[in-house]
Every structure is written in C-alpha cells, then in structure tokens.
C-alpha cells in the first residue's frame, strides 16, 4: 500500500480542449454493458429460451400432428410456431433493458455517470442506442436461429416454411424487431421507476396482467382493445397467417414503437428534472 502520494509524477491527462462527444459517451455505455456478467447471462437466457422453446414446441407439433383436426391443419403457421419462444424471451430482454438503467441507481453508479456526463438527455440516448443496437443484433440472430432449428424439426407430413415464402422473412425479422423495441420500452420503464423490482413488476404487469384484466370485460370490448396489447402485436408480427381483430404486423410494430417513444420521452423529461 502506498503511504505517500505524488499525483504530479503520474501520466497526466491531455489539456482539456473541446467538449464531451456523443461518441465517447456511446463507447462508455458499450463498456458498461459488456463489462458486467448479467449482460452475458441475460442474452444467453434469451437465446436458450427462444431457440429451446421453439424447438420443443415444433417437436410437440410433429408428435401431435396425426391427432390434429382439419381446421387446425388449415391454420397451421410453421413460422409462427417456431417463434413462440419469443413470448417467454421477451421477459429476458425486458429484464436486461431494465437493469441497464436500474443497476446504475441501485449501485449509485448513476452519480459517477452524471458527474462525468452532466448532459442527461445524451446519457439516456446513448444508453438506449447501445442497448437497442445490442438487443437488435442478438434478437435477430436468435429469432433466425429459432426459425431454422424449428423448421428443421417440422418433418413430413407436417408442413414447414422457408425464408423465400411470402411473409416468412417479415415474420422472422419481425420477431427480432419486436424483442429489441420491447427491450427499449423496458429500459424506459427502468429509467422512470429507477428500482429493479418495481420496474420488472410493472413490465410484467403490462405484458401479462393487462391481458388477464381485459378478460373481465365483455367480448366486444376485449376484441376492440386486445389488439393494442404488446402481446397481441407480437403474435401478429411473428405470424405469416394473420387473424382478424389485430393490427397488421407493420401497423402493430408502429404502435409498439410509439409506446416506446412515449415512454422514453417521459423517462427523458423525468431524468432531466429529478435529482440523481
């Protein structure tokens, strides 16, 4: 342990000319994300859940095929079937998005971050950009993997899909887009709520409790409102065959982006106004 100190003798910092740049803040957020294990674990969980569940569901489909009815066979959507793992994987990406912000509050790191970068909109934007980019790349890789693994398991007589068929590429890519944007929505919730447990509860409530609550309403209300739920949007985005009473995949995606933008905007305003 050093007993005396002479800071003057150590390498100093180049003269401070210029200003904070977005590039530096982006690089910093990338370092933050990649330097904690929870990131790796969450992304691994995301991959295992998406691919694993898709594979299980496809295998189960094959074994049950002989006992399925004609209507079921008519509406069978091999693409959507292989991407069903997304309904569970969305929780993993949500937790990761939430933690990207709440872990800074939980540990007090946010104060070091804001002392280094007092421009708070820049901090939030850089966080969202880095997380969004990572989430998008990983989610796309994972959904394509889930699709390919799932289709390889859907063996004759069960029909399977190929990326060249109409609507299939859109559905597979759409699954990745859905996960990435939902992750950003979760990041915004994390920034608004600032506590990991509270943010995760809210996120889960929006995804899973809201649809249950809706079931307390008359059927006409349910059909009118259910298409606005993220879960319904996910269903239409990953499916080739569309059902009535939902938005089209791209309209649904637009709506999800609007939710996310609104939540991030609220997060940004609160971030600037509140004490760190």
């Amino acid at each position: 342990m050093p007993t005396a100190t002479a800071p003057a003798t150590v390498p100093t910092v180049p003269p401070a000319t210029g200003r904070l740049s977005p590039a530096g803040v982006l690089r910093s957020e990338w370092t933050k994300l990649r330097s904690v294990r929870s990131t790796v674990w969450s992304l691994l969980a995301l991959a295992v859940i998406t691919v694993g569940m898709g594979a299980l569901i496809c295998a189960a489909t094959v074994s049950r095929w002989s006992s399925s009815g004609p209507l079921e066979r008519l509406h069978f959507d091999p693409t959507g079937r292989s991407l069903r793992g997304i309904f569970l994987a969305q929780l993993a990406i949500g937790v990761l998005g939430i933690l990207a912000v709440t872990s800074e509050y939980g540990t007090g790191m946010i104060r070091a971050t804001l002392a280094a970068v007092p421009n708070r909109p820049l901090v939030l934007a850089a966080k969202a950009a880095v997380f969004g980019a990572v989430a998008l790349v990983v989610s796309e890789v994972v959904t394509f993997a889930a699709f390919l693994v799932g289709q390889s398991l859907l063996t004759s007589p069960v029909p399977h899909a190929t990326l060249g068929q109409p609507g299939v590429l859109r559905a597979v890519a759409g699954g990745g887009l859905y996960l990435a944007v939902l992750g950003l929505l979760a990041l915004g919730l994390g920034s608004i709520i600032r506590h990991t447990a509270g943010a995760i509860s809210t996120f889960v409530a929006i995804l899973l409790i809201l649809p249950l609550l809706l079931q307390a309403f008359p059927a006409s209300v349910q059909t009118a409102l259910s298409k606005f739920l993220p879960l319904t949007i996910a269903g239409s985005m990953i499916s080739v065959q569309q059902t009535a009473d939902t938005f089209s995949p791209w309209a649904g995606f637009g709506l999800l982006c609007a939710y996310t933008a609104a939540i991030l905007a609220v997060a940004g305003v609160l971030f600037v106004r509140r004490d760190a």
């Binding site: 050093p2 401070a16 872990s103």
Partner: protein, 311 residues
C-alpha cells in the same frame, strides 16, 4: 475554485441547505464541517450538478457544472454513496468513466497504481473491502487529473493507516495548487487536515475562516478555582481585572488571568484554595457547542469567552 451563492435545497418539508454562500479557493484544503444531517452531502451533490438547487446556484471554475467542457478533467469527486457496480472490475469502472471525457487508458493504469489497486484492477469491485472501495473512489476522483476535488467524508470507516493515507493525499493535492474541499462531521479529523473551514449547521453557514482563527476563537482557556470563601475570592479577582463566572457546583470559572497570578493574589489576601486548575475546552467540544443549536448562533464567539455556567 468552487462557489456557492445563496444555495438552498428543500426536500419536501426538510430544508436541507438554507441560503448558503461560500467560496472554496485553490491551494489549500478547505474542510466542510457540520454535524450529521447538516446538509454537507446535499451541498456537494448540488456542486456536482446531481441535485437541483431549490434556489441559488453553484459554480466551478466560474462556470455551472453542466457547462464544463470535460467535467472530469476539471472536477473530481468522491461522494458519500459508493458509485460502483459490484459486478464490474475496478479497471472497467474507471475505463467507462474515462471514455466519456477523452481520458487515455494510460491514465486509468496510472490512477490505479496511485491508489495501490493495480494488483486487483481486474477483480470485481464487489469483492473489495471498504478501504479498497474508498481507494477506487479516490482513483475515480483523480481520473481526469482535475484541479478541483470534492471528498464527502472520505475517512469514514477507514483504519488508521487508511486515514493517514487519505490525509496525506489531500494535503499533497492542495500543495500542488488544487482546490480541495473535504467534508467531515468530526472536528478532530478536520483539525489535522484542513487549512480553512466552512462550518454549517442545519444547512446554514456558521463560520468561514482559516483553521487557525477558528481554533483560536473556539478553544477557550479558563481556570477553575475552588475556595471556601468563593464570594470574597470572586470579588478580589474581578477587581484584579479577571472575568469570573460561578459554576453550578460552587467552583469559579476564571478567565483573563493565569493560574499563578490567581494563586498569588489569593495568597496575598490570605484566602485558602482547594482547586486551581487550568482548563481548555477541546476543539471537538467547541465545535459541538457551536453547532448544537445553529439557530441560536449569533455569529460572535468572543475569544476567551467564559463557559456556560449551567454546564
């Protein structure tokens, strides 16, 4: 240079900082002294641009914190709360801060070495002891080689060796011409480290003066005298020019006259003494008294004031 101008912070019903104005100058250690809950941490957070003042403002190097080009190269801070993700290595913690302000990797290595953490730089910060965590906080504060440094209770929980290390570091930084602002609720700690003092109580400024002046004003010397004929003795000493205040148990607190002179005067008058003992209130006591009820403080602690007879 740090400036606070009419700084006020309210949290709901709590007035944490109340119309506080002071300046922290370079080249010396300025102690920021006040009892727990007096608003030191809040003031420091406002200086760092973390909490928004309810009124008033703070400036660093003549600018608002948010207007600094590369904040870490001008201001470094070790605040009260640990600001480290336990899952991140010390190196990566510093590196992600460095990247924002265009600070090179060589400087990250340098500050790690400076605080003696180079061997554990790749270990996760969550495994660090309290002292190592404090050293990492110091490294973060020094990262941008800043001219202005803030430390909030930096010796809290440290062992004597760690305390000495921090003290030397702060004094060294000030000797290099940097502005060093360090808070503590312990007068004894400040007495060994600070050259100048800003004292607050209940969010209000109580004193802003050189350490030596504060010591001179606060350490009150008096002589406790006990005598069977205390009334006669009191009159005698008062005629000789001393200030005499009776204490609760019948002793006399005499100031303005040294013990030998008191003894000689008593002998000359044929008065018996049972006690003749010079007293000095410790700095810690002086500080406690000063801040005990900040509201009643009137701003004048006359040198050599007589202690409160009811104590």
């Amino acid at each position: 240079m740090i400036q606070a101008e009419a700084l006020t912070k309210r949290y709901g019903d709590t007035l944490a900082v109340d119309d506080l104005s002071f300046e922290v100058r370079p080249g010396r250690v300025t102690g920021f002294l006040g009892p727990n809950g007096s608003g030191k941490s809040t003031t420091m957070r406002m200086i760092m641009g973390l909490d928004h003042p309810t009124a008033g403002r703070t400036m660093v190097n003549g600018r608002r914190y948010g207007d600094l080009g590369y904040p870490l190269r001008e201001v470094g801070a070790l605040l009260e709360a640990k600001a480290v993700h336990p899952g991140r290595s010390a190196y990566n913690h510093l590196w992600c801060l460095a990247q924002t302000n265009g600070i090179p990797r060589t400087r990250v290595d340098a500050v790690l070495q400076l605080v003696g953490l180079e061997d554990v730089a790749r270990k996760r910060a969550g495994t660090f002891s309290l002292g190592m965590g404090q050293r990492l906080g110091m490294a973060a504060a020094l990262l941008g080689d800043p001219g202005v440094l803030l430390f909030d209770e930096p010796v809290n929980g440290l062992d004597p060796e760690g305390i000495r290390w921090v003290r030397n570091l702060l004094r060294g930084l000030a000797a290099e011409g940097r502005t060093v602002f360090v808070s503590s609720h312990l007068m004894s700690e400040m007495a060994l480290t600070a050259d100048h003092l800003v004292v607050i109580g209940r969010g209000r400024l109580i004193a802003d003066m050189p350490m030596a002046e504060f010591v001179a004003q606060s350490s009150r010397q008096f002589v406790r005298v006990r005598a069977p004929a205390s009334t006669d003795l009191a009159g005698l000493l008062q005629r000789a020019g001393a200030t005499v205040v009776p204490e609760a148990d019948g002793a006399l607190a005499v100031s303005g006259m040294a013990a030998p002179a008191i003894g000689e005067a008593a002998a000359a008058a044929g008065l018996v003494l049972h006690e003749l003992s010079p007293q000095s209130a410790s700095l810690e006591e002086a500080f406690m008294e000063l801040t005990a009820d900040s509201v009643e403080y009137r701003g004048d602690v006359p040198a050599g004031a007589v202690p409160d007879p009811t104590r």
